[in-house]
């Protein structure tokens, strides 16, 4: 009997609250050993881990690579897999490999198979793909079933064709299907983080509003606590509410800290749109159980009339190379915002002698305006600045040529009042030019309206 079948049968036979362990909000950056063990000692009914997000930017999705190191990822996967098999409970992993496209899912599955082989583990594993077929998506664009939001331009068939990877955020459907078909481990591609934790309670008939609210909080580990942190968190869900407890005794889930977590990375703290419906927290209540635990109730759920799948896709825009340097010369710093475009013009005359202007070159001046979207007027001049020149060009060689040329002419660029005629900038090391590989941007961030969302996310089951 599989872990999912066992837990489902047990809770149907003898209804009781269900305990879910949120092991990690970003698997692959390390799971604190002591608090994870404390969580396992509480005998949870499920271990869930989120493994990715759109926050990390378009490059991981585009390249099909993980943001985390293979060694740390493998260590985290082994830790949660061994514990889940030891307790014989389902392990549910969402947004595999940082971005949840095919290569990310495949790399995660390969690691799990490898761990199973080396540790002699045998289990049934469901893999759920989140890649959206291009032909289907182009047809959806033509028939007006793809819409824009947050001011994104309309999706074109060309965008669909040119994207390196396009994924959809799956909801609970594919997870429920996998749990009901009997598995020990689920590894999903791009998925709503809530689906990782809410799907098993949904199968067992717990109220969806509560299950979703709980899932939304525990997918971030102990971030909802004071002080917030990355330790595992335990939730115990019944039919009227759920209790949250960090597995690190130094972190407390207080009514205010948990309520405040509803703000995190959300544009609306009262209602949250999910593929399967809307979570409404207007009447959520947060009550202290003791000084470390909070009980939450009151969230409600409205099923969507028609499922909506959020699409994410990234396309390659060229090869990126950067130049890293700094300055401590007050005259150069005072004029650098005006000088840098002149340096870029000079570079263009040199590298475009025989070739067209086929690249972009931009500068960020840290100390002046490298970080902020808006900079107040009349700020005092800093004593030092860090300058990053960034080139995106059609080839790696072309990008390197531009930043290397830029380095030399920025170093020796003449300007009125210049005293430091041996060089305008300091290099922390040489070479100060770095080739960063392919650059991507998000070209797809749209909504796909479908009748049957679950058919987009095929569930494949294998035995290790």
């Amino acid at each position: 009997m599989t872990a999912a079948a066992r837990i489902i049968a047990e809770l149907r036979r003898t209804p009781r609250p269900i305990r879910l362990l949120g092991a990690s909000g970003q698997l692959g950056y390390g799971i604190p050993a002591a608090s994870f063990k404390a969580g396992i000692d509480r005998c949870p009914d499920l271990i869930g881990c989120d493994m990715g997000s759109i926050d990390i930017g378009p490059t991981y999705l585009g390249k099909g690579e993980m943001a985390t190191s293979p060694e740390a990822t493998r260590r985290d996967l082994r830790r949660v897999l061994l514990a889940a098999r030891q307790l014989d409970i389902p392990l549910v992993i969402g947004t595999a490999g940082s971005a949840g496209a095919g290569p990310h899912l495949d790399a995660t599955l390969a690691m799990l198979r490898d761990i199973a082989r080396l540790d002699g583990l045998h289990f049934r594993m469901a893999a759920i793909r989140a890649d959206i077929p291009r032909r289907l998506l182009r047809a959806a664009v033509r028939s007006g079933k793809v819409t824009s939001f947050d001011g994104m331009p309309a999706l074109t068939e060309q965008d669909v064709t040119e994207a390196a990877h396009i994924v959809g955020q799956m909801g609970m459907g594919p997870f429920r299907k996998a749990l009901e078909s009997g598995i020990d481990v689920i590894v999903a591609g791009r998925a709503c983080d809530t689906a990782i934790f809410a799907s098993l309670p949904a199968v067992l008939g717990f109220p969806l509003g509560l299950a979703m609210h709980m899932a939304k909080i525990i997918e971030c580990g102990s971030l909802c606590c004071v002080p917030g942190g990355r330790d595992p968190i335990l939730a115990e869900l019944d039919h009227d509410g759920f209790v949250l407890e960090s597995m690190n005794p130094d972190r407390s889930a207080t009514p205010t800290s948990v309520a405040a977590h509803s703000l995190y990375e959300q544009s609306d703290p009262f209602t949250m749109q999910e593929p399967d419906g809307t979570l409404d927290l207007t009447h959520a209540r947060y009550q202290a159980v003791d000084n470390r635990r909070t009980r939450v109730s009151g969230a409600t759920w409205r099923d969507a009339a028609r499922p909506t799948i959020k699409l994410e896709g990234a396309c390659k825009i060229g090869e990126r190379a950067v130049l890293l340097c700094g300055s401590a010369d007050p005259r150069f710093i005072g004029q650098c915002k005006a000088l840098l475009p002149n340096v870029a013009d000079l570079v263009r005359t040199l590298v475009c002698e025989e070739l067209p202007m086929d690249y972009t070159l931009r500068f960020r001046v840290y100390g002046i305006d490298g970080v902020r979207m808006v900079v107040p007027e009349n700020e005092p001049q800093p004593g030092e600045v860090f300058i990053m020149g960034e080139c995106i060009a059609p080839t790696r060689e072309r990008a390197a040529e531009v930043v290397r040329t830029c380095k030399q002419f920025l170093l020796h660029f003449g300007y009125p009042g210049r005293l430091s005629t041996a060089g305008n900038v300091a290099f922390p090391f040489t070479p100060p030019e770095v080739s960063l590989g392919p650059a991507y941007r998000f070209s797809v961030y749209h909504l796909l309206h479908v009748d049957d969302a679950d058919s987009l996310f095929p569930v494949e089951i294998e035995t290790t």
Partner: protein, 100 residues
């Protein structure tokens, strides 16, 4: 008094790659109520700080978390060429000096 002297948390982050959300959180109900009524935290003033028209700035009071949420469009999509803050985690600075 400056906002940074009274608030417990002042932070920014993406809410998806095209929007920025700023959270201001307080340690007591009294501090929250004092600031939530201040016109300094209105869409007009926040828009001026971020050089956006007030209709592109949404202010959401959230008493359960003793917090005020501000939502606005990012001037550049996260990760696009020219972006300066992919996670949007450092765009809170203009709020720190607001007089309340």
């Amino acid at each position: 008094m400056k906002l940074s002297d009274i608030a417990q948390v002042i932070r920014s982050k993406n809410a998806g790659p095209r929007r920025l959300t700023l959270d201001i959180m307080f340690g007591s109900d009294a501090d929250y109520h004092r600031v939530v009524q201040s016109p300094a935290l209105g869409a007009e003033n926040i828009g001026r700080l971020y050089r956006l028209p007030p209709e592109q700035v949404t202010i959401i009071p959230y008493p359960a978390g003793r917090a005020i949420k501000i939502v606005m469009a990012r001037s550049i999509m996260a990760g696009d060429p020219g972006d300066y803050d992919v996670y949007g985690a450092q765009q809170h600075a203009p709020l720190l000096g607001i007089e309340v």
